[in-house]
Symmetry: C2
Subunit: 390 residues, 2 copies
Amino acid sequence: MIDLDAYLSECRDLTLNEIKSIIPRDRRYREVLYDLMLDYPLRSAKALRPALCIATCRALGGRLESALRSAAALEMYHNAFLIHDDVEDGSEMRRGKPTLHRTHGAPIAVNVGDALLALTLQPLLDNTATIGLGPSLRILETVARMARESTEGQALELHWIRSRRWNLTDADYIRMVYKKTSWYTFIAPAIVGGIVAGRQAKELGQLRKFAALLGIAFQTQDDILNLTTEVGQYGKETAGDLWEGKHTLILMHMMRHATSQERDLAREILSKRRPAPLGSQSAPPGDPRNLSLEMERLVSEGELTTRGRARLMQSLDGTGRHDSGEKTDQDVRFLVTMIDRHESIEHARKVAAGYVAKARKALDAAAFVAPSVHRDFLESMLDFVASRDH
Amino acid sequence: MIDLDAYLSECRDLTLNEIKSIIPRDRRYREVLYDLMLDYPLRSAKALRPALCIATCRALGGRLESALRSAAALEMYHNAFLIHDDVEDGSEMRRGKPTLHRTHGAPIAVNVGDALLALTLQPLLDNTATIGLGPSLRILETVARMARESTEGQALELHWIRSRRWNLTDADYIRMVYKKTSWYTFIAPAIVGGIVAGRQAKELGQLRKFAALLGIAFQTQDDILNLTTEVGQYGKETAGDLWEGKHTLILMHMMRHATSQERDLAREILSKRRPAPLGSQSAPPGDPRNLSLEMERLVSEGELTTRGRARLMQSLDGTGRHDSGEKTDQDVRFLVTMIDRHESIEHARKVAAGYVAKARKALDAAAFVAPSVHRDFLESMLDFVASRDH
């Protein structure tokens, strides 16, 4: 079997070299912009998207060199969205280092993301000189579609979060994940690879099916791992999704099967904020978590009255929405108990396994993908999703 | 002479209809995304960019219908950046209404901006069917260049803000404004209009020169108006740029000509925060301005000690940077006095008039732009910049 890590790492090195050649070198903007654009891409990461794009292209007989500029554009797109996501979520760490907005402030971070997005267009236009007009335009249309699908998926999830909606079905989850994860991480890279290799609509449709199913399996498995893996092994705090109140298949299943009393309690817990890491002073400026910790201390030291604290909390939340406080260990334990009782993880495992099986069938049906180390990479993605523990 | 407002208003209506036809109607995403994408475009605005694109195209004999999709894409681009800027700056109002992040929260607002950006690509690809491959690709390259230039200009300005740099020359200002204002608001719309009309590099180069010079004059004039116009007439708080500490030609000139003692005091003032509007509770959640106001009140009412207040202010500013407090009326009056003493507004007026004159010369030299109501519009932009008082 193929060495997955070695394949990924080779694709990543090639993609990074390409990205470095795309980002301008003009000295006047190097320190204020270009170096910052390379920060996230150069941090340790799998770089799944470019590998999928390159592997699909080469598995279909396309040339590595023809795929590199598109692979690099997809990876730049991804890093731009990571920067914006980190600003939106007030995240502190990314790939083992402080987030860009923590080191340089939110305005610079948002602009670096916008600059990465801006620079994805020219390499995709450069394609016209190497792979021809028709394929280049179809790649641009694929990227336009990808961007639309992922912002629609994001809109759905943000709407659920803001309206605190939990009466959701597996189908709701799968629609959201199809748009947010499948299109962005799997479908677009695979289709772009196929277009570079000169393939037409029918074969691209089969690739798309495989990638869509794989993406849904991947995200569901990711949600399961978040709840079942110990700290260190998975690199995130255990059950981080529960602390965040993320809309996963698992939580939706639990909410559907809970008694109405359990559901009310769970809803109340899920609407609470995630507390800051213990003793942390490092949340972004203005993050309510910094202040609520410090206010607790001031109240206990007699420097602030509880009435004063309530008023400060209210003016913190400028939207006038009620602040329901922070989740506690007990809150999260309650959610875990409910998830266990309703066997929601088992349900998610079945769903994930079902999608892996369907994706495998879709790849098996794609006989036009001849055997090669590159096809092996696509196969091994299935095994990776089915058996991954990190 | 042409009726500038009527011309702008006609172009705006046509562009809005086009934008409405570009944004999908799928019911499942209407409320959570598409309606929000139309919010800013539908608010009252001049819509300078599409008018410039349409006027240039028609002045060169191009068809209105051929320019509309590109004009709409430019306007969508602009509205996307307005949404992102408002989030970055924590702005409260935009075009007379609350900003999108105030009504829907920052994550949804950032996503709506990303979705508008995402949807600019497809209409520019649609161009291939109407104006041909070559022009369509050149328009895409122009938009790619515009996006790169404006993020570079933005990076320069953000770097000056963050490093509190004020030893800057007219040339520094003009380079920044050429990238941020000229490329984005004038050069790209004019060149795109020219490409739609089938013009080639030489003529596009002349259009670009005109647009670049006009853009610099426009921005300089904008900065002057900010300092010289009464509330109401100009629609912003008078001297808003001084309260913000914006890097204008005027302030740079004053800083260059001030004594070292004056300069030190001015630097100290400029590094202070802008205070919240009086009695405002409406800054975005977590905005330090909400809290510092409420803390003042709590201290005066004995609910919070001054020591407690200092600690809260420190934990608000998670970057650990020193918070230098809020600007006062006296601070801003000092800046105004310095600006008067060093005749910095007069200097800016001379610079603006010089660029209007150069822009007029550039348009006069563009004999290939035949006389028409559309050329009149371009001419009247010069008069508008030279004499505008709003």
